[in-house]
Symmetry: C2
Subunit: 211 residues, 2 copies
């Protein structure tokens, strides 16, 4: 565990004054992670292979990032970890699920730094098949499957996919294509407008076979 | 009108046997249109400037493509013209608007050639700001504004944007990121699942200010 002598939250240095060695080790791991996730997808990339690619001890990755899930979120540049948002959204009253998710989304999306990074990920997923694949595998394993387990119904994975479709569509419409007036609408207006959609996708009848 | 001596629907030649001169004039116009739309956007690009760029008479563009709207659809490679779909969707009973739109979308999306081209446009809009701009201007002028006029309510443009967000999100989720089970679900299942969402965005209360 000698590699852990530089704790990542050590605060002896100014914010911009990280020791170069530590910073570059972190960047080396992130670059190796991006290569391995792009080549093998989220499911099949292993911390062992990423450590080998980066030329570091696997324990150092756990030390810096905690888990494969968290390493992925850092490597891909996601501004938040959707897997970590789940408990706050899915706990509590089912009748307010869609509203809680919409509120949480648009409270964070209001931050320009946040939506710029999220937009970057959506752009990359649209343009590069290997990014689309790693996002699909990450979302399925870490977000949709746990959500479906909590929802507990037969079509829960489809429901989680539909929620994902509306969220990625909002990112495209509001931040990438910048449709007006949607792009300039206050976050609360957008949250209000989509809350019922998310609620319906998550827990209300989907109307399958009603045509 | 001498330039019109080769009618585009002349059928003397086999399907694959167009005279090279005609075919290349059409391609020259399309290439010029793509340049002009990318540089100036949909609103400010003019048929006159496109004709100048292509080195052809402006009447030839009208002859081949009919209108700026139709030229844009051909130049960008859209597999259908959403402006031409509007009357079929917006005419008829308001209570079935969302279902008619969902049915129409998923009847055409079931054609692989269709969704491959649509996916190409969505990818390009995500990756290239000038494609995003021309799509935004085209959709706003030719699809959202006419829809809003027919809907007639104050927030009609926002409603049209929300419909657009769900449709582009479905294209991303089903055809680009290929979330499962959404990507493999029969078109009718997806149409059923989103019909109520589209219906709500178009004509039902949006729930603004209900938080």
């Amino acid at each position: 565990m000698a590699a852990m002598s530089n704790p990542p939250d050590g605060t002896q240095h100014r914010r911009s004054g990280r020791r170069p060695g530590r910073s570059s080790t972190r960047e080396t791991i992130l670059a190796a992670a991006r290569r391995q996730f792009a080549q093998h997808g989220y499911d099949r990339a292993s911390l062992r292979a990423i450590a080998g690619d980066a030329g570091v001890d696997q324990k150092l990755i756990a030390h810096f990032f905690g888990s494969k899930q968290k390493l992925f979120v850092a490597a891909i540049g996601l501004p938040l970890n959707p897997a970590e948002m789940l408990p706050a959204v899915l706990a509590g009253e089912r009748g307010q699920l869609g509203r809680r998710l919409a509120q949480l989304l648009f409270s964070v999306l209001d931050d320009p730094a946040f939506h710029q990074r999220l937009t970057g990920v959506v752009r990359a997923a649209a343009a590069e098949p290997e990014v689309a694949r790693m996002m699909r595998e990450f979302l399925t394993r870490e977000v949709f499957a746990p959500t479906a387990e909590i929802l507990g119904c037969d079509d829960a994975l489809l429901r989680a996919n539909l929620v994902g479709s509306q969220i990625v569509g909002l990112v495209m419409a509001r931040f990438v294509v910048e449709l007006e007036p949607l792009a300039s609408a206050p976050p609360q207006v957008v949250a209000d407008a989509v809350a019922s959609t998310l609620q319906r996708y998550l827990v209300e009848p989907l109307g399958l076979g009603e045509a």
